[in-house]
Amino acid sequence: MDQKRSTLNLFDNIDLATELRLGLPGTDDQPEIKISISGNKRSSSEIGSSTCKDEEESSFSPPAKEQVVGWPPVRSYRKNILQVKKTELETGSGMYVKVSMDGAPYLRKLDLKMYKSYEELMKGLQEMFKCIIGLYSEREGYNGSQHALTYEDKDGDWMLVGDVPWEMFISSCKRLRIMKSCEARGLGDFL
């Protein structure tokens, strides 16, 4: 039975300026994009003023930037070790996904393997982000609460969390996003 619902219309109304994605699209991992901004005279003053730009939300949001050579100042040796460890962690037994919450400037990472049910996941998220998500219900979706939890599945579609059995969910979930409940309404409407 096809459990998926089309979510294509969901993002039409979303202001993409609030979609905080840093770095080039598709580069979730951290390979250094050695686009050096050294030698570019404009760079430093640009950076100085870019954090005060008005085009972003009024709450501070870091401007999109390429990776800068030699910044942060972490020695090559240490960088290599951390990269090895990170790779081990991600290919190991954990199941780490990124979690973003609308309005929060930074993402968090979560190990899905730590949870055994939707309830536990919600609890974990609520603690992490200090918000109330509430449980998904077939009929109401997340209409009862301020926030709704969505996830990006293997095919790149955004779905409401709680739709599918837990096991199916953790095997297809690539990323989580806590949205404002009103914006997630679109998802639930496609019944």
């Binding site: 050294s38 003053s45 954090t51 501070f60 030699g70 100042p73 972490v74 090559s76 040796y77 929060a104």
Partner: protein, 598 residues
């Protein structure tokens, strides 16, 4: 006895340079000092600090000569500031050399390969001048296997080799050292760009090698023969520092510790056991004989299951390096509960603010804290520590003097509080990882934070700034940082004024390194009279032109003004990377094509 003038001006470079001819012979008629040379030399031989020795050498000719004959250790902070020939001519009886090469920003890939700092010319001269050389400590030097082989075979009494942040060699070079240096007491290999071809080098230590006191191979990846290692450790009864690499498992560590109860510093290796053959209690007494242990590092893969094994030695630890162990806050808290005597602590930011609260509550004697980022390049992730963790530590650890702190958010108010709590800072390096980031609460620049630091912490010697900073920060630094010797600046400032303030206002400034700042020619040239009293200046991705550099070079012939050409060759009138340093050796003769000496 002539007394030394405490107000001796540092208008001349003092490390090794002065105008006195090192070959001057004294005659009776020029002697002003009543002491025979032998007595004076004997007295002066008790002075270790190279700064004191520099002072001594400036008193008069007698003292200069007595000092140069009695000096056993020479420290060369910039290998291009002097030549090996000059060193050998002035100091005939050196047994130990410390040599530093590349500018510090080479650690962060800002200096191209093949820039220089080759140790070989030094070794060539030393092989004839100092055949009895015993110790060599190198930092940021280019070292080849040939050089290591040359070292191992040319100096028969050679004892101690330390390589930190060097590159160009492989484990084959280490084989040469292990095989030939019969009196080796120290082999300290740290964080180098080494070509790891395997662990066979360790097996090259002959059976007759029993004098090792320091063995550090923690940064090498290949597996060594455990059998060879165990035998080596058991026959070296004076071993006091042993730092193992990640391949050494927990039970192998246990075996090793049985052989060296006298150990003072231990790098534990992985601290994990893949296949649990027995209960954890098997390891419970592993450290019970290590009564002299004061430093522990490594713990690469330590988990809550095995960490408690180390608790019995924690009470006497003074330095704990957890900067490669991904501990969470509770694991750290449980560990630190036992570590009340800690003076130095290095951590990964996985411990979070909660972990730092534990630091504040458990370690009242803490003097040094370094918090490294576990995920420095993933800009989206918010993990790690914030201003709150730093404040917690400052509350519980008023003796903090030395801090390196990587974080993603900070406020002026927090830093002001920290400065009030810890007025004794000598080294303060704060790295807000997002370039140009303001106070995240007030959205203001971080000027007041560093203002608070320089105003309150009068003993500050080293400062690294970050975040959104205007010229104001540098005004504060110039006004207040009177003991500051090293300053690191990135993505900061508005105009030349910033750099000018620092150059004008900081009398003890020795090293200034700047990247990606809008400082230009006026700023560069404002330091015209200052640079000779400094070790070096680095400026990259600023607004400096070639003409200004040429002008500086012309006005100050005792400075080497080097410009590194950008490979893209975008704009030849801009000086993309400038490195200025004083030297008595004249311009470099080994400069690669991309380094222009003006």
């Amino acid at each position: 006895m002539p007394t030394m003038d405490p107000n001796r001006k540092k208008s001349k470079p003092v490390d090794l340079v002065d105008s006195v001819d090192s070959r001057v012979e004294l005659t009776e008629s020029t002697r002003s000092c009543p002491f025979p040379d032998e007595v004076l030399e004997r007295v002066l031989s008790l002075i270790d600090s190279h700064k004191d020795r520099s002072s001594v050498s400036l008193v008069c000719k007698d003292w200069y000569n007595a000092e140069r004959w009695s000096r056993r250790h020479v420290f060369i902070g910039n290998c291009y500031s002097v030549s090996p020939e000059i060193v050998a001519a002035r100091f005939p009886r050196i047994r130990s050399v410390t040599l530093k090469g590349k500018p510090r920003f080479s650690d962060f890939n800002l200096v191209p390969e093949d820039w220089g700092a080759d140790v070989h010319p030094w070794l060539s001269v030393f092989s004839s001048a100092y055949p009895f050389l015993e110790e060599l400590r190198l930092k940021r030097m280019a070292v080849s296997d040939e050089s290591l082989e040359f070292l191992a075979t040319s100096f028969h009494g050679f004892k101690a080799l330390s390589l930190l942040s060097c590159d160009g060699f492989s484990t084959d070079g280490l084989k040469a050292i292990a095989s030939h240096c019969k009196n080796l007491t120290e082999l300290d290999i740290q964080e180098n760009g080494i070509d790891d071809l395997g662990g066979h080098w360790l097996s090259c230590f002959p059976e007759s090698q029993t004098s090792l006191e320091v063995l550090n191979f923690a940064s090498l990846n290949s597996e060594v023969s455990f059998d060879a290692l165990e035998k080596l450790v058991s026959r070296c009864k004076s071993l006091r520092v042993l730092k193992l690499n990640r391949n050494i498992s927990l039970d192998q560590l246990q075996k090793l510790l049985l052989h060296c109860p006298q150990l003072m510093e231990l790098g534990t290796g992985t601290f994990m056991q893949e296949l649990i053959s027995g209960p954890v209690t098997e390891f419970k007494n592993m450290f019970s004989n290590c009564r002299k242990l004061v430093t522990v590092s490594g713990l690469w893969d330590a988990t809550p299951l095995y960490l408690p094994v180390i608790y019995p030695v924690c009470a006497s630890l003074t330095f704990l390096n957890l900067s490669y162990a991904t501990l969470q806050s509770s694991e750290l808290a449980n560990l630190l509960f036992h570590c009340r005597s800690l003076r130095r602590l290095w951590l990964l930011d996985t411990v979070g603010d909660k972990g730092l609260e534990a630091v504040g509550s458990c370690c009242p004697l803490l003097e040094e804290l370094r918090v490294f980022p576990a995920d420095p390049f993933d800009q989206e992730i918010f993990l790690g520590v914030t201003e709150s963790g730093f404040v917690s530590v400052s509350r519980g650890c008023p003796k903090l003097r030395h801090v390196l702190y990587f974080c993603r958010q900070m406020t002026n108010a927090a830093v002001a509080t920290i400065a009030r709590n810890c007025p004794d800072f000598t080294h303060f390096r704060l790295c807000i990882m997002n370039p140009g980031q303001p106070d995240y609460l007030t959205k203001e620049p971080m000027d007041e934070a560093f203002g608070a630091i320089v105003k309150t912490c009068t003993k500050l010697q080293r400062l690294a700034v970050s975040g959104l900073l205007t010229d104001r920060t540098f005004e504060y630094i110039g006004q207040h940082a009177k003991n500051m010797e090293t300053l690191s600046v990135a993505f900061a400032g508005n105009s030349d004024l910033g750099m000018e303030c620092v150059l004008k206002g900081c009398p003890k400034l020795r090293k200034l390194e700047i990247r990606d700042c809008p400082f230009g020619n006026a700023a560069l040239l404002s330091g015209l009279t200052k640079y000779e009293s400094m070790r070096s200046l680095w400026m990259s991705a600023c607004n400096v032109t070639m003409n200004a550099c040429r002008m500086l070079a012309k006005e100050k012939p005792r400075l080497n003004v080097e410009v590194m050409r950008d490979e893209e060759g975008s704009d030849d009138s801009q000086a993309h990377k400038v490195y200025v340093y004083r030297s008595v050796a004249g311009p470099r003769r080994d400069a690669p094509p991309f380094v222009l000496t003006l």
